[in-house]
Amino acid sequence: MPDQNLTQPHMAQIVATNDFVVKFANVNGSGSASANGLFAKAVIRMGVPVGARNIFPSNIQGLPTWYEVRVNGEGHVGRRGGVDLAVALNPQTWDDDLAGLVPGGYLFYDSTKPMPPSKFRDDITVIGVPLTAICNTAYKIPRERQLFKNIAYVGALSHLIGIDPDIVETLLAEEFASKAKLIDANVRAFHLGRDWAKQNLEPIGLQLKHADGVGNRIFVDGNRAAALGAVYGGATVCAWYPITPSTSIAEGFMEYCEEFRTDPDGSKRYAIIQAEDEIASIGIVNGAAWNGARAFTCTSGPGISLMNEFIGLSYYAEIPAVIFDVQRGGPSTGMPTRTQQADLLLAAYASHGDTKHVLLIPGDPGECFTMGALAFDLADRLQTTVFVMLDLDIGMQEWLVEPFVWDDNRQLDRGKVITAEDLEAGKPFGRYRDVDGDGVPFRTYPGTHPTKGAYFTRGSSHNSMAVYSERGADYTEGMQRLLKKFATAAELVPPPVIQPAARPTRIGVLYFGSTAPAMHEALVTLERRGRHLDALRVRGFPFSQEVFEFIAAHDEIFVAEQNRDAQMRSLLMIEGNIDASKLTSIRHYDGTPVTARFLIDAISEKMNANAPEKETLK
């Protein structure tokens, strides 16, 4: 066995319990994902909150992939920034992985072929475990040698940082419940690594202790949650085209529908079409919703670009549609497996002519479920396209969130639909008449009544009776009513979440979506440093009145977002007529999820630059 004792004795090591960052560097396609997932779940089962992020390439096999686990007993599960323990198993990225470690951190590597000291840093602790040698001795089949090497490093880590081995065994038993043979094999591999570490290494300064920080929270990704939301929201038609990072919404919908929407005779209370492209997907959604079914598509930025014409039709002809946009790095093909919040303006004003659309902006997978269901009620209620704006970080990463909740008394809100009975009873019908003064007209489903209620749906200009018209007065009346309907939407979208600072302040911060957990951590740290900021998380567009009231009540607002062009800031300025100088932009857009440390630094720096007295305390 090679000598693994490479610790620099003179150097300070990080000592932390239930609060550190571990980053696994792997090669994709090597089977590391399940081992890394096992690691994260084991920490959660010990009662310690975790934020886990799979950072992967747009590739099937052979390129670098990382899994970053934020362990934090206080419940901060956003990215912190910096790495305390690097599990460096990919020679391709060795230099970067080494560089990412904070001073005093730990580097874990496969020391079958020991690295020369020149390949290390002198301010870190190096831990070598000869994983390949261990597994080559224990296994004969090459595939087993590779796969079990992954479980073996989890075993070695369990000794080093104090993961409870019983919990790992329980998780493996659950994972392979249907394949008992695999349970034993995996448990054996786990102990192979663990035993070697026990015999050869001391535990390190990063330690896990059983805690009670998780409660009954669930560990789930936003795409799965959104798919479940669509099931609970009563969606019956899903038309989609595969695109990273949204594909698992359609797959999740398929899975849940098979389970919950299949009749005893095998017939299905849903229809899923993998369409030929995104244009057909949204066309199918519009057709189905026009005919009274709840329908959605799921896509990412490039798909939205293609769907623009239909989105305009939905707006103008007033057809419900739900689009889940799992945002990725743009423009063009951009970074398909990286995260961004860069489709805001695209979605808000999609299609030619004067258009505006409703956006729901979930801040975690829990809200992907609630907003996923709500989107269908709103689409029917408002008869227009409703976007649910996820991003890759929320959509494809598993987050620790409160369990899903459903009220069994809740009924699907089908909005203003006139039935055959209404028509028979003489209820007047004019497809685009504003009967209630809220800008929302009534509609009929095709096939309702033999002689009443039929109308012609078109994207060309029409009067309030749905008759083709190029008269200027008819056109402007319709366009003004659509504005009124948009104002109604502002009252129906989820209101912002406002979190006041511990002390009164004239400075605020506005954020949304996947920035939430990093911002929450940043605010706590800033507060400790005497930086008091009121915080508002936007959850919908058009903006609720509360958003503008919040801005009005402060002298300066930091607007934090994950795109280059400060799109949320632009939306606020356009829709709220807000003075640009009042909104200070903070942007993080390199494709990785924003970290708490980035936000702390950016906000502190700007506050210092704006002179300390700007941080007025009343």
């Binding site: 019956t236 199918i284 033999p450």
Partner: protein
């Protein structure tokens, strides 16, 4: 798309069909197309077909894309819901509408630009999915609304009104539909009502993807010497393979056709398509033979018309998906929402 309301007066002696409606009950607004447009003849044929089928107008949904042909659904079946979608995208909208309520009859109306150019992808995929629809292409080989550009079905070598020659190959939608697995494929001519009306009736009662390519000369831009879609050219080169009668279950079946010249095909809904053969060697239930026949005749400059292919055992998208018989748009909260208990189970599985 007209400002002029059509008079609602009915002549008292207008004949009514089995459900008590007259032909007028199947009409729409006044057409705004050019006088003599082939498309208006097709609209009239649709009206006749629906009247003769005793179809309840409100149980049919009519959908179209953009273009002269796509304007026509406003001009027939005024009691039906209509949907004028975006250019080339009628097939996807119709597919979605069909998924939402399988109990309606779906009529898609499109043109050669709408189907063979901008919308060819959607045409192709809706047909291969087997959407239960009657898809009519009103094919004039020209862009009318933008005044006379060639379309993708314009034959190579045909001339525009300005005398320019088309140098690109034309797409034969009938051959394409056959290859894609359409289960009812016909071609006709807007000027041949006797052939067209039964073809539409058969398509509307067919239980799968029915495609009708209807050559419909454009009086404004494509009805001159040099055009292969003009009235004169089509009349001279039309080679009908059969004549069709649609016999509904309740009508006594006539037996006055000579054996050997007549073939009855029973469709899913019980209607019988009676094919009177004109071309002695034509078999309408053989997909490969149909494709070969069409191409052989096309090579001779002949336009083969009639019911070119039918699969009486046709299935549709719902059969393939295994959708419930209840229209999806009629399912309520209790059918769709699994409830709090199921959610508790899901939560437990995510810990």
């Amino acid at each position: 798309m007209t400002y002029i309301a059509k008079p609602q007066l009915h002549h008292p002696s207008l004949p009514s069909n089995a459900i008590g409606l007259t032909r007028r009950d199947y009409e729409g607004r006044i057409s705004t197309l050019c006088a003599g447009c082939g498309h208006d003849s097709i609209s009239a044929a649709i009206v006749t077909a629906c009247f003769e089928l005793d179809l309840q107008p409100h149980r049919l949904a009519k959908l179209s894309g953009i273009g002269c042909s796509s304007k026509t659904p406003d001009y027939f079946l005024g009691q039906s819901h209509g949907f004028n979608a975006v250019h080339g995208r009628m097939p996807s909208v119709l597919t979605g509408a069909n998924l939402a309520n399988r109990d309606l009859v779906f009529l898609g109306v499109s043109g050669d630009g709408d189907t063979a150019s901008i919308g060819i992808g959607q045409f192709v995929h809706s047909v291969r999915r087997g959407v239960n629809m009657c898809y009519i292409v009103e094919n004039n080989g020209v862009y009318g609304l933008t005044k006379g550009q060639f379309s993708a079905t314009s034959d190579k070598g045909s001339k525009s009104k300005r005398g320019a020659e088309n140098t690109e190959s034309g797409i034969d939608l009938v051959a394409l539909a056959l290859q894609l697995g359409a289960t009812y494929v016909g071609r006709s001519f807007s000027g041949d009502k006797e052939q067209l009306v039964p073809l539409i009736k058969g398509a509307l009662t067919h239980g799968g993807a029915a495609v009708l390519d209807v050559i419909s000369p454009c009086v404004a831009f494509n009805n001159h010497a040099g055009s292969t879609k003009s009235f004169d050219y089509v009349r001279e080169h039309n080679d009908a393979v059969n004549r069709l009668d649609v016999i509904l279950g309740r009508t006594p079946i006539k037996t006055d056709y000579a054996p050997g010249e007549v073939r009855d095909v029973t469709q899913h809904d019980g209607s019988v398509l009676r094919l009177k053969k004109i071309a002695a060697d034509y078999v309408a239930t053989d997909r490969n033979a149909a494709a070969a026949y069409i191409q052989e005749h096309q090579a001779k400059g002949e336009i083969v018309t009639g019911l070119l292919y039918i699969d009486p055992e046709a299935s549709d998208l719902h059969d393939r998906l295994g959708t419930t018989r209840v229209p999806l748009n009629a399912l309520g909260t209790e059918d769709l929402t699994p409830g709090a208990q199921a959610l508790a189970r899901i939560n437990a599985g995510l810990r």
